[in-house]
Symmetry: C2
């Protein structure tokens, strides 16, 4: 089959990559669309020491597996959990210590014609969602994860630092609670994208530091983290949403003096994301920058890595 | 009056320091005992850029002020708040942006014969508490602050990193909830001190890394922070209890990947601490290393800074 393969040093298009093996618990999915996310770009810089087929945002169709599933359009949660440990027992398979993670850890991902996904991870895509909407299920679930971890009150003032795809989805997710959400970013066009969700926006050049009850770091940079930390009111909450590979020089004293709560936030559950998409409570398709065929995957990755790029998709 | 004075470079004993001024909201307290804490040692290294009389743990007697207070034995909360801002309105005067802080920020502290304290900050010491017990009200309140910020379940496994005074009091405070508390430290004698509170202890040399639901960093070192972070289970809580001056090289990625909750924790309210002392639910006097007269304050500070020292007190 056709696939993009990362050997730890270089990404290559392979027209004859081995199709994934499946078993009783795993089905084969023909990928319709796959999204390129910042984590993928970090992986292609060495994050997680991954080798294999990258990609963990996808929508596709079951092409081989138990009869009742074949032909269904699906999205799939990215953590392949053991199903037996204490984390799995508590519904936290995404923290299963024995997990592999699609396109990130010990499992091939979605930048390929076909993908193997455990049946337990699949979610059926409702008919009235397009592929272009459904491919945002994973990143929207990650944004909604914040609401699973942090209690947001309707009167809260929330700042999202970063106007990229992640910042946009986090702002929309938080806005669902009725809280006052402000997005701080560098790009006027990207800020305009999120405005229609009822979110306020501020250009970095116009930023007047002040305190917020909750601040979400979605910029993926050390400077974004510093700015976010300074914007949290005493006893407020800082949500870390971007995995920043590498170490940073950080002073921890302000966390203690202001008794700040820092919440690391990663993957979320798919059902609430599918429901929000279905009910059109969030909009995602304006976030699409361009769709590339898989053969032009390397060009697509380069495009996705450009400053200011919105979501770049692959159609295998 | 007699006082220790820190000019930003050097600590000196002054036998003729000006007695503090008082007003309608402030009383004069004759200091019976004052405790030396790690924050004081950091201040004498330049933390907070403070100059003046250090010291924020004390027990004393009101010597001048409104008639009904004179003669009362008191302890006092260390944050001198404005009483009018939104934080003060929410009972969070210890986060009032306009506050001064006793012996730490724009206010002389307790390493002196007399001390000026706002009436609103005073708490009467019950007669059946000794001065040696009451002087621990402030650090015990800081330890109990964790219970105000983090929900502790009786079945939780908790690790306290650090066997010093702060670690000891945090372990005792957390043990009150019925949770399983383990203290990890370097000093066999200090670990023995906390054992009688029903706390498990582990010497650092015997440490086998494993996961805990809640980890409290009370070691005050970058290596203690690293160890603490690695001991938090996914979705667990890390409480930062020591102000570590200066920057540290810290990787934030594990916080996000394991969705860890980091809670900065500083000062607490006095009434629960006084009650715990009164009901003998925590023990504090075995933590006393030595009591020095104020005249030997510099020797006392040096003693307090020695590795392995327990609580050093000053009797002005």
């Amino acid at each position: 089959m056709r696939a993009l393969y990362w050997d730890g040093r270089q990404l290559a298009y392979d027209s004859a990559y081995s199709a994934p093996a499946t078993d009783l618990q795993t089905v084969l999915v023909k990928v319709h669309l796959a999204g390129i996310c910042s984590t993928d770009l970090q992986i292609l810089k060495g994050y997680m020491g991954f080798t294999g087929v990258p990609g963990h945002e996808f929508v596709g169709q079951v092409s081989d597996g138990p009869g009742e599933l074949v032909g269904q359009r699906v999205v799939g949660e990215i953590n392949f959990a053991c199903g037996r440990c204490e984390f799995c027992a508590r519904g936290l398979g995404r923290h299963c210590p024995g997990r592999s993670v699609m396109g990130i850890l010990n499992a091939d991902g979605a930048f390929a014609e076909y993908l193997a996904v455990p049946v337990a991870n699949l979610h059926r895509v409702p008919d009235n969602l397009t592929d272009e909407e459904a491919v945002f299920t994973e990143p929207l679930a990650a944004a909604l994860e914040i609401l699973d971890q942090v209690q947001v009150s309707p009167g809260d003032e929330i700042l999202v630092v970063g106007d990229g795809k992640l910042g946009n989805l986090c702002a929309q997710a938080l806005r669902l609670t009725g809280a006052k959400v402000t997005v701080l970013g560098k790009h006027r066009d990207k800020l305009n994208l999120v405005k229609r969700a009822g979110v306020r926006t501020v250009l970095l050049n116009d930023w007047q530091p002040r305190w917020f009850d909750i601040v979400v770091e979605a910029a993926g940079s050390a400077s974004g983290f510093e700015l976010a930390l300074r914007a949290v009111r005493p006893r407020g909450t800082l949500v870390l949403k971007s995995t920043i590979a590498g170490n940073h020089q950080v002073s921890l004293a302000p966390l203690v003096v202001h008794e700040i709560n820092v919440v690391g936030s990663r993957c979320g559950l798919f059902p609430p994301a599918l429901e929000a998409l279905l009910e059109k409570r969030v909009f995602v398709t304006p976030l699409i920058e361009k769709i590339y065929p898989l053969e032009e995957g390397i060009e697509a990755i380069n495009h996705a890595g450009k400053s200011g790029a919105r979501k770049v998709l692959l159609r295998p």
